[in-house]
Symmetry: C2
Subunit: 220 residues, 2 copies
C-alpha cells in the first residue's frame, strides 16, 4: 500500500505536469507539497526506486505509467469526495478542498464506487475540474479564460483554476460558479481590467489576473 505521503507526491506531480509528459521541476513540487527542496529530492529518488516516477537529475520528475495510474486514482477520490461534500452534505463550495485532501487517502475503492453511483457518476467536481474515470482516463479539455476569450459572446463558466478559500469565496459571491452564464463586455489590456455582464445581473469588473483564473466555454 502506498503511504499517504507517496499518494500526495504522485498527485501533485500529476497536477503540475499538465500534459502528463513534461518534467516537473523539484522546486515547484517542493513548494506544492510545502516541504524544503531537499526533502522533495530525497523522496523523489525513493519513488523512482519503487517505479512510480522517472527522475532526471537537475531537470525534474515525470510519472511512469504505474505512477500515473495511482495518481489518477487519488485525484478521482479527491474530486468525488468534493462532489459528495457539496452535493449531498451541502457544504460550502469553497471549503471542501481541505476536507477532501484528508479523505482522499482514507477511502477505499469499494466505498468510492458506491459514492460514485450515489452521485450519478458525475464527470466534473463542483469546481468544474474533470473527474478521472475508474479506468484512469482524464478528460482534459483546453478551455479559454475570461482573460483570453472573445468579447461579446455568450459564455458559461467551466472551472476556477485556483484552490484558495479567498478566491473561491470571491467567485461564489459574484455569481461565478461553474455553470454560470455570462459574457465579456469589455477588456482593457492597458488598464488590466475585464468587465463582465452576467445574465440578469449588474456589470462586474475583474482584474486581468483574476479573469485568467476562470475558464469558460462558449454557450452551446
Amino acid at each position: 500500500m502506498a503511504s499517504i505521503t507517496v499518494e500526495n507526491y504522485l498527485k501533485h506531480i500529476l497536477l503540475l505536469s499538465a500534459d502528463g509528459h513534461a518534467l516537473v521541476p523539484m522546486g515547484a513540487l517542493a513548494s506544492a507539497l510545502a516541504v524544503v527542496p531537499g526533502t522533495a529530492t530525497t523522496m523523489v529518488k525513493a519513488l523512482a526506486d519503487e517505479g512510480f516516477v522517472e527522475h532526471r537529475p537537475r531537470q525534474g520528475v515525470r510519472l511512469t505509467p504505474g505512477g500515473r495510474r495511482l495518481a489518477l486514482s487519488v485525484l478521482r477520490k479527491h474530486r468525488l469526495v468534493e462532489t459528495f461534500l457539496v452535493n449531498v452534505l451541502k457544504m460550502d463550495w469553497a471549503e471542501v478542498h481541505a476536507e477532501a485532501e484528508q479523505l482522499e487517502h482514507a477511502i477505499s475503492d469499494q466505498v468510492l464506487d458506491r459514492l460514485d453511483a450515489l452521485l450519478g457518476r458525475p464527470a466534473a467536481d463542483p469546481h468544474g475540474d474533470p473527474i478521472p474515470s475508474r479506468g484512469g482516463k482524464l478528460d482534459s479539455q483546453i478551455y479559454a479564460t475570461l482573460a483570453t476569450c472573445a468579447t461579446g459572446r455568450a459564455l458559461r463558466v467551466v472551472r476556477i483554476t485556483e484552490q484558495s478559500q479567498e478566491f473561491l469565496q470571491f467567485a461564489e459571491q459574484n455569481g461565478l460558479q461553474p455553470g454560470s452564464a455570462l459574457r465579456v463586455h469589455d477588456r482593457n489590456l492597458s488598464a488590466g481590467l475585464v468587465t463582465l455582464k452576467r445574465k440578469g445581473g449588474r456589470p462586474l469588473t475583474l482584474s486581468l489576473a483574476a479573469a485568467g483564473k476562470i475558464l469558460v466555454a462558449p454557450e452551446a
Copy 2:
C-alpha cells in the same frame, strides 16, 4: 493534532476499559493494536507525557479526562461513519468496520456534524453499539447476552460484541442483526448449547461461546 497512531491507542484503551476507570493491561492493549508489548509500553509512556493517559507501571493504563474526550470523538466518528456506510451507501453490515477504521481518522468535526444530521442523529450504529454524543456522553447500558438471559421471554437483539467478518456474516445469515426478535427456547449448560426460536423462523442452535457475544434486551 493527535496522530492516527495516538487516536488508535486512545480509542482502544477506551474500548478495553469498559467502565472507563479500570486499568487496561499492556498485553491486552498490545494485542488489540497488533503490536508487540514493548511497543505498547513505549507508546503509552509517550501518551502519559502528553497527558492523555495515566500509566501505572506493571499494572496498566487508564485514560485521563482529556484522553477520554479524544477517544470518544474518535469512537463517535467510527460509529457514525459505519452508520453512513450501511444506511446511505447500502454497504454490507459485516464489512463496514474496516472501512470506518480508516475514515475515522480523516473526517473533520464539521463533516461529521453534517453526516450526523443527514443520518438523523442516530443513537446507535448498525451493530447496535451506542454512538457517543457530540458532548462526549456514551450511553453505556448493560445488556444480557443470549448465554445469560432468561429463557422463554420475547427478546430483541441489541448488539453483537465481536468485530470479525466471519462472525458478523454468520450472525447476518442467521437473522441475528440488531433489532431481530427472538426468544431463547432452551439452554443446556453441560453441552454448551443454546437453542433459539426466531419470530417466524426455524429453531437455531448456537454454542454458548457464540451466544455470549450477542446482547439482547427484553422486548418492550
